[in-house]
């Protein structure tokens, strides 16, 4: 079980997360929705150990995380919305490096498969800075998937991706889910015809569980660009939930 208990975080005087608690089950894909600035990215950063919460605990299989010497945990990978890479290493060398660090067996075959799946096989010898934003996002996802993390957090993974790549990501996440990984991604939308196991709404510094219907209606609202209406409607939705 991945458990978040009474987590609080603030930027100076601005409280972003307040006594926030929720749980994820193994082999579960959870979607985290919420309007811009609600604190989704901050929450994911805290869960991944990139930011230190003021209070609260994060537990993986009853083990309190980020208490040992390392601030990050090798079981957890977080793919941010704008990942950066080593300028001097090619795509293939990035995969080679992290596969070696994680001691991934048969990494070359796995890397080949993922590159083909994400249509990056022709760019294997390219430097990441020469790629488009979508291709860099694909590389980041491949890097995360190749190490098969126990916990995977993704921040707006579908943003710069085309429809094919979005579907590929979802398929790969289902593969990872089959290994029993915990997967939490922030997104306003899901690929056509796909369903998550759990829907979470980030609102008023808290996370609430909502159902698929509410998520669908909320996605429509979040993609509606009038923020005042959006806030009001989201509040109603949350109250209903």
């Amino acid at each position: 079980m991945f458990k978040v208990s009474e987590l609080s975080y603030s930027y100076g005087q601005h409280q972003v997360l307040h006594n926030l608690s929720f749980e994820l089950s193994p082999g579960e894909i959870a979607i985290l929705a919420g309007r811009n600035g609600a604190g989704k990215s901050t929450l994911l950063r805290c869960l991944a150990g990139w930011s230190k919460p003021e209070i609260g605990g994060i537990y993986l299989d009853d083990r309190l995380l980020f208490q040992e010497q390392s601030p990050q945990d090798p079981d957890i990978i977080f793919v941010p919305d704008v990942p950066d890479f080593y300028d001097e290493l090619t795509i293939w060398e990035h995969l080679r490096l992290i596969s070696s660090i994680y001691h991934v067996a048969d990494w070359e075959e796995e890397a080949d498969n993922l590159l083909v799946a994400f249509e990056l096989e022709d760019a294997a010898t390219a430097f990441p800075f020469s790629l488009s934003r979508g291709m860099r996002q694909k590389l980041a996802l491949i890097m995360a998937l190749i190490v098969r993390p126990k916990v995977l957090f993704l921040d707006e993974p579908f943003g710069p991706l085309d429809i094919n790549a979005t579907m590929t990501v979802w398929q790969q996440l289902k593969v990872l889910k089959a290994y029993g990984s915990y997967i939490l991604l922030s997104s306003h939308t899901l690929p056509e015809g796909s369903q998550a196991d759990r829907y979470l709404l980030m609102q008023r510094q808290q996370v609430r569980v909502i159902d698929e219907t509410q998520f669908d209606s909320m996605s429509a609202l979040l993609n509606y660009d009038d923020s005042t209406d959006e806030d009001a409607n989201l509040d109603e939705e949350a109250d209903d939930a």
Partner: protein, 508 residues
Amino acid sequence: MRDLAILGRLEAKRLRSKLNYWLKVLGMDPEDSRFYRIYVGLFWLYWVFFMWSYGTENVYQISRRLPSDATGSIAQFIPIVIFIGQILYLFSVFRNQPVRLNGADIAYLAISPIHRGYLVFINLLLNTWLPTLFIAVVSCFVGMLIVWQAMPGTVGLAGLFAAITMALLVFITTTLAWSISMFRLRPDGGTFRLASWVIFPILIIVAVALPQITFFPGFVWVSAVTEGLTPFIGALLVALSALGILLLVFTGRRVDMPVIVEENQMYARIARLGPYASYYARDLIVRIHKQHRLMKRRRVRFALMTSRNNFITLMSQSVLMSLRESSFSFIMLILQGFMVTSIVGTVVSAAGLDKIQTWALIVLGLMMSRRPDIASTFRSAMQTPWLRQFLPSNVPMVLAAYSVYSFGLIYLGSLIAIAVAFPSYILTGATFSLFIGITLTIWQAFTVVPEKHIFKRELQYEASVLVSGIPIVAVGFFSQSLPMTMITTAFIMVIAGYLLYQSYPFSS
């Protein structure tokens, strides 16, 4: 000619806008009252006059102190300096084509049917007027220095002729160099592009065999300074300048513009950062240059070694990244260790450890020895949490693996310097150098790792060296004992290591 007029008007507008900006920076806002603008103008005029007088006074004082035959030697040396300058400039435009276009130029001018020869010519004027002015001023001072002792009455005229002649020589050199560069960049110039490098050995052979030809520009300058600028020489220089313009317009007309546009993507990116980018976005500019180099350069045939042992994998990564950044990085690292140790050793042996200046120079030398960075790979990984999360959780091991290559080569250079220049101090020097090297590596790690106990933030490398240098200097200066100084250095190293180990992410 119509295209030339259009480009001229466009650049005049841009120049006016730039001029307004810099005038505002100097305190002369066009919206200020006329009297205030006159006041600011007079202030800057006075400043220029004062600086000019200061420069002239210094030239006079130097000329008085020089032996009488020294100015003759300087005059003989000038043609060689000018020739070397010309060769180096030609080499630089061979390596990187000289036309500089910003984003707007690329978007509107480069793809337009405007005459490319005029575009290149205007670009030359814009890019060379400021360096030409600077070289002319320096040349003016050098000219005055040469004649001040022998012909004090003609110093002013000699300076003027030196400046004019040098400006024309620079113009002729740049137009010729740009013309050759543009000729190399014509669409069907592939073979010539490679073959044209032969010009450098040819020029050097000609310089040895026929110095009267290769050093002619220098002789012209010396003659203008010592004997005055004759109408014939003046006319010759103007004619050559005109010829240079024609040649440039002719060769520029057929230039392969897509190649120039491609080359200028990097400069356009840097130009977008604004006029002060070199101060506030230096790291970003360095990164843009690095990315451009990586794209252009042939990939180093060195595979990333991977192993079950993470230390070896990470060390291999740092070696590969270092070699990709510069193929000669390993030589540069050895040279850096060699040079810093040689300088420190020479200063110590020449001035002695009993002078505070010696110690100040040592600390200064260590502060300036930052580049190439010992822990650059560690820094780039630590600054990016996304990459850091893939690294092993043993951060001290990560730092050691990422630093061992650079550190090892710098230390090797240091050992070579000690063995060659100060063999009797090999053991002491090697130990001292090791302690200092480890301490510097730790200080470099603190540039990305916030120190937890004392400063509670990342530390500037130079500040760290200064802080740790003060106790070492104090102990060394007052005790005059090398063992005591070494013990202090070791103590500082241990303290720095402890502080680093206690800091995040070494310790949460």
